[in-house]
Symmetry: C2
Subunit: 333 residues, 2 copies
């Protein structure tokens, strides 16, 4: 693996005040049943289109996390995040209801980790409270990226299932009580190993996850032993296996520590094949599961490595391969 | 206008090392002929699709600005920016050729100003050199957002013309010689006045430009008199007129200082009606024109207010209005 230049940032004052999650019905039937703040019974969420349902999930998550952090809307300086829809409309339209500034992000399913990085930078530049957020919706993503839902296309066994959910985090530049902190982060670079199969995104993303993890370990002179858990975003089962091989080749054995947010989201009988994908995976697991484990002392230091595949239907039609990116944050308590 | 909370950041060490521009043929036939580093004779740029031409423009602009700043690719810590295509593919795919980290942004035509804000924050968090970049291409945007080019649809007199071009800036956290600096910025919030006409984006964006400008003046206790020029991104002629009215109602007369990057890009006989639009407008004018004027002493303090309309074809089809955002940066020399 090529190693170029330090890409790791240190954040002295990025406190995770709280997280909030809205999960779809299938997600709340999965392995993390009961971990989410709001579980939808119907993924239409009372709206007349799937896109408006996704938007309403974002609106709920923003208001939810602000309330849970004991803030008012007027206390929030900035919203930072995005979604998978063209022109990140779920995020942009939901931001209309807030007074806060808005920085729209897009790094596919790595957007949640990206939002924690940009949010932490903003705190270091004088902002007080920032909401970091990302999410996705199976039915909007499926019809935008793949096929009309009504077509009932058979899925390949290497595919993943776009998770329905939104996760939001309030980061603040100070906190009176003891709370987890985003302490360091590595900004991912775009890695393209020439994978052409848009149904096998785990394989496309694993080299980028390896690149970012190894860069972080080198930059910080740490190793997998220093962490209680390393959560990748949505490599899925096959992508995780590839990552374990690749990191081992680089001299880092993460097999005892690595979990994948997407792969861990569903039970096998839910037939998602390689597990969940989508920007919701890491946002749901970080805010719904990992923050709680950090607070309970089950984890003291973890890494979240958000993985994203940066292609579009247009690039696939035009015969391009699938570039990928992985942003990593270190969270300690 | 509602005023909530300070959204203005101060950057102590965000030096503008240099800018680089790639412009389309129509743009280089306009009012800024000869101001661009590379002017294309053919907007296909030797590629077999318009999307690949746009990507190649991004690749050229990144390499061009790195070279012009006397850096090598390995000196750059991060690329920060985006474009108007779904999944910001022009930016993401061009980032493959670099070693630097990448943060993908999307705030429509406000993306260039957004990139200067995020880039400046990164410098304040320890990065040394960041490339901020945005752009657009008439032929990719037209067929993605509106109609097939071959259809030859007649255009309404309130429309604008998506500019073809890419502008990139190297920001560094130190500079041995005297150079312009990004000194302050106001993060825009999403403003939606309920405008439904996707052909009249100037009207949709003007209230957001007013919101951000007035917020900046209040936050910093400055007035239009403190600036040599105030460049809005792509309000067009009609949108600029609306902005002058709105800011006057708020007690700020910017009529002697305001110029619009998009409206100033073309001659009347080029039949772009309200002028240029697209992420390229502010990126081309800032890097191709304004930096030079700052260096020559024609301007000492300017404001760049990047304007963006955050809708998508899907939201228009589903009957939604057009939310807008404006990010502002102050640049001084």
């Amino acid at each position: 693996m090529d190693y170029y230049k330090k890409r790791t940032l240190t954040f002295p004052n990025s406190y995770v005040i709280d997280g909030y999650t809205v999960a779809g019905p299938k997600e709340n039937d999965g392995r993390y049943k009961g971990f989410f703040d709001l579980a939808l019974e119907d993924d239409m969420f009372g709206q007349n289109t799937f896109e408006r349902a996704e938007r309403k999930m974002f609106e709920h998550a923003i208001d939810g996390v602000i309330g849970k952090a004991n803030l008012t809307n007027a206390d929030v300086d900035a919203l930072v995040g995005g979604d998978l829809l063209n022109q990140i409309i779920s995020m942009s339209f939901s931001a209309r209801k807030q007074h806060a500034g808005f920085l729209g992000l897009y790094n596919a399913c790595a957007t949640f980790a990206e939002s924690l990085i940009v949010g932490s930078c903003l705190l270091n530049n004088g902002l007080e409270n920032v909401v970091c957020i990302a999410g996705s919706h199976f039915s909007t993503a499926e019809r935008q990226y793949r096929y009309p839902l009504e077509l009932g296309v058979l899925r390949s066994p290497v595919t993943q299932w776009t998770a329905t959910g939104v996760g939001a985090t309030v980061l603040s530049n100070q906190c009176e009580t003891s709370t987890p902190k985003v302490t360091r982060a590595t900004i991912g670079r775009v890695v393209d190993y020439g994978i052409m199969d848009a149904n096998n995104m785990g394989a496309a993303m694993a080299p980028s996850a390896c690149d970012t993890l190894v860069t972080f370990f080198k930059d910080t002179e740490t190793s997998p032993d220093d962490y209680d858990a390393i959560f990748t975003g949505d490599l899925g089962k096959l992508g995780s296996d590839i990552l374990l091989d690749l990191t081992k080749q680089e001299g880092y054995d993460i097999s005892a520590k690595q979990h994948d947010c997407g792969a861990s989201l569903y039970w096998d009988e839910q037939q998602t094949y390689q597990g969940g994908s989508g920007a919701a995976c890491s946002a749901l697991v970080f805010n719904g599961v990992l923050l709680g484990r950090l607070r309970k002392g089950e984890y003291k230091r973890i890494l979240l490595a958000g993985t994203g595949a940066l292609m579009s239907p247009t690039t696939s039609f035009q015969g391009d391969s699938i570039p990928a990116i992985t942003h990593l944050v270190e969270v300690c308590f």
